[in-house]
């Protein structure tokens, strides 16, 4: 009896988990400065593919392992790919490899110059406003990001998968990061996916807009598994050493 209960519980959990994990396709548009970039998200079981659908040039393609967070960047332009380990650091802190500012050596009896403080950066925090709505049939909650007087409003849902901003190249090392470079990671950390995100200048003009156009639940076919692997003719290159 206990065994049957255990098996039933296990099956229920598995079915529930399967039902909750979104699989299918999401089309979206990322607009910056009036220029829209069409994006396609294809979600499989524990894997995700993000690509630009505009055929103007051989844009990189992102493949993400949703369990480990590891990413593979495909470069169709030279038929290569690079595997990137998942970043574990807080997005507001400098990435690993960023050199610390050394103390200047003392000279002629002068005391050592104290360590120069890093530039004052306002920490970005994703704040829930409490507003709720329904977009494309999905329950959403409104979040805000504020930095230097600029506000980004984001309607996000927890019913899809953790957001993955489209990545074109291997990330750089240090320097202040714009709000556009951080909002996606903050959503991802909270396992949210944005259906509508708008960043505006103080004068009200839009600086960035991410808008989901369609959500199509659809379990990928067997032949779709190739979508989540580097093509056989692609060569692996080593990631940048930082």
């Amino acid at each position: 009896m206990k065994t049957k209960t255990l098996i039933a519980a296990f099956c229920s959990f598995f079915i529930l988990h399967s039902a909750l994990a979104f699989e299918g396709r999401i089309t979206a548009a990322l607009t910056r400065g009036g220029q829209a970039t069409p994006l396609l998200y294809t979600a499989g079981t524990n894997c995700l593919r993000v690509e630009v659908t505009a055929p103007d040039r051989p844009n990189p393609v992102d493949l993400l392992d949703l369990q480990s967070g590891d990413m593979t960047l495909l470069f169709p332009n030279n038929r290569s790919f690079v595997r990137l380990k998942a970043a574990t650091e807080d997005s507001s802190t400098p990435p690993p490899g960023a050199p610390a500012m050394p103390n200047m050596p003392a000279a002629g009896g002068m005391p050592a110059t104290p360590m120069m403080p890093p530039p004052m950066m306002e920490k970005l925090e994703l704040t829930a406003t409490g507003d709720k709505t329904n977009l494309l049939g999905l329950a959403c909650e409104k979040y805000e990001l504020k930095q230097r007087g600029e506000t980004m409003e984001i309607w996000a849902t927890g019913h899809l998968f953790p957001f993955q901003p489209y990545v074109q190249n291997q990330p750089h090392r240090f320097g202040p990061r714009m709000i556009e470079e951080q909002w996606g990671e903050l959503l991802k950390a909270k396992k949210l996916f944005p259906l509508l995100a708008v960043l505006k200048f103080e004068n009200g003009e839009e600086r960035l807009r991410f808008e989901v156009k369609s959500v199509t639940p659809q379990k990928p076919e067997e032949q779709d598994s190739a979508l989540f692997q580097p093509p056989a003719e692609y060569r692996e290159v080593q990631p940048l050493p930082f």
Binding site: Q35, N78, P176, M178, N203, E205, V237
Partner: protein
């Protein structure tokens, strides 16, 4: 008579200073040979204390034509061509390799191997004075293919330190041109790279270099000066983790030039941002032929000119003595904190926007000329 002779003599003397033949004719020395050369009492190693790269001194293996296994100074005496694998592998520290003006080439049918490969964790390496060539080409749409090398100069395992690459040209590689490391003691100077599918030059200090027609970032370093980088894709044309000085960067659809601090630089993009400074841009020009920013400075833009076809001309927290122009609906100049001594123009957007506008001027064809929360002698 004496006077005539004197005049003739002086004339001949003057002519002899103008005509070298006359001069040598008068100055030729003894025709007697100086005698047999005296023995130098030096060995061949003392006369040329360097080692020729060849099959005897630096025999290769199945993956590399030649391998340098001992510290020392090496040089080429001829061009090298491989049909597969690497040209030269360096497997030990303290090596100077003089390419001596020769070329290391690959005729591999599909791209493979490295022109020069550094083994894991090497230090004190100098490579200079020559060429590395593959057969990879760009089809004109940013797709790279063909034969030759994957990498021009490359390393494996742990990145090398104390490396200098000087006066080397690399062309036609499927992946990287000159690939070292940033954040450490690697220097690339006076090198050129052309037509590579990914990064052009990557090193900590890069100066007086040019990398064009690169599928990825053309130039990336910590300190970059007097360089030109041009990316054919969406990557940054020239990227400096710390400072870019007197540089030019171009990208087809990404950011033309990005740096923590950009001084006297020009960034240009087909559709992305022209120039982005994560701290300060000074004496810079940024241009976007699309909707990107002309110049984006996270903190300060000073003495800059930013122009965008349809996006924002100049964006900065503080803009000093800047000129921003938008040919569309973007802002000519946007300062989230202060604009001082600035001019902004927008065709149909806001000419100049600032929280504090101090002695500024905004203009527009059909939009808003000036928008300032605190206006100090601005119009």
């Amino acid at each position: 008579m004496k006077t005539k002779l004197l005049i003739t003599g002086l004339t001949v003397l003057a002519l002899s200073t103008l005509n070298s033949q006359l001069s040598t004719a008068f100055a030729q020395g003894s025709l007697t040979p100086p005698g047999q050369p005296a023995p130098t009492m030096k060995s061949a190693d003392q006369i040329e204390p360097r080692t020729i790269v060849n099959a005897v001194n630096t025999p290769g293996d199945a993956t590399s034509l030649f391998i340098i296994r001992q510290p020392g100074s090496y040089y080429l005496t001829t061009n090298l061509t491989v049909s597969t694998g690497d040209g030269i592998d360096i497997n030990t520290n303290n090596v100077t390799l003089d390419l001596n003006g020769f070329t290391i080439a690959s005729t591999a049918a599909s791209a493979t191997g490295n022109g020069i490969l550094l083994a894991s964790g090497l230090s004190d390496i100098t490579i200079y004075n020559g060429h590395i060539r593959g057969g990879v080409t760009n089809n004109g749409s940013g797709v790279y293919g063909g034969g030759g090398y994957n990498y021009g100069i490359n390393w494996s395992g742990i990145s090398p330190v104390n490396v200098l690459v000087s006066r080397v040209s690399v062309s036609g590689c499927q992946d990287y041109g000159i690939y070292l490391n940033t954040g450490d003691s690697t220097v690339v100077e006076a090198c050129t790279v052309r037509t590579v599918g990914s990064y052009g030059i990557l090193a900590s200090t890069i100066k007086s270099c040019s990398a064009l027609d690169c599928g990825g970032e053309a130039i990336q370093g910590d300190q970059v000066s007097d360089c030109r980088g041009q990316s054919s894709g969406s990557a940054v044309g020239l990227f400096a983790n710390a400072t870019a000085l007197n540089c030019y960067g171009y990208s087809s659809s990404g950011c033309g030039l990005a740096a923590s601090t950009a001084l006297n630089c020009f960034g240009q993009s087909g559709s992305g941002a022209g120039l982005q400074a994560n701290n300060t841009a000074q004496n810079c020009y940024g241009y976007s032929n699309g909707s990107g920013y002309g110049i984006y400075a996270y903190f300060t833009a000073e003495n800059c000119y930013g122009e965008s076809s349809s996006g924002n001309g100049v964006y900065a927290a503080t803009a000093l003595n800047c000129y921003g122009k938008s040919g569309g609906s973007g802002d000519g100049l946007y300062a989230s904190v202060t604009a001082s001594g600035c001019f902004g123009f927008s065709s149909s957007g806001t000419g100049l926007f600032a929280f504090i506008a101090n002695v500024c001027h905004g203009a527009t064809d059909s939009g808003t000329a000036l928008s300032a929360t605190h206006n100090v002698n601005s119009y």
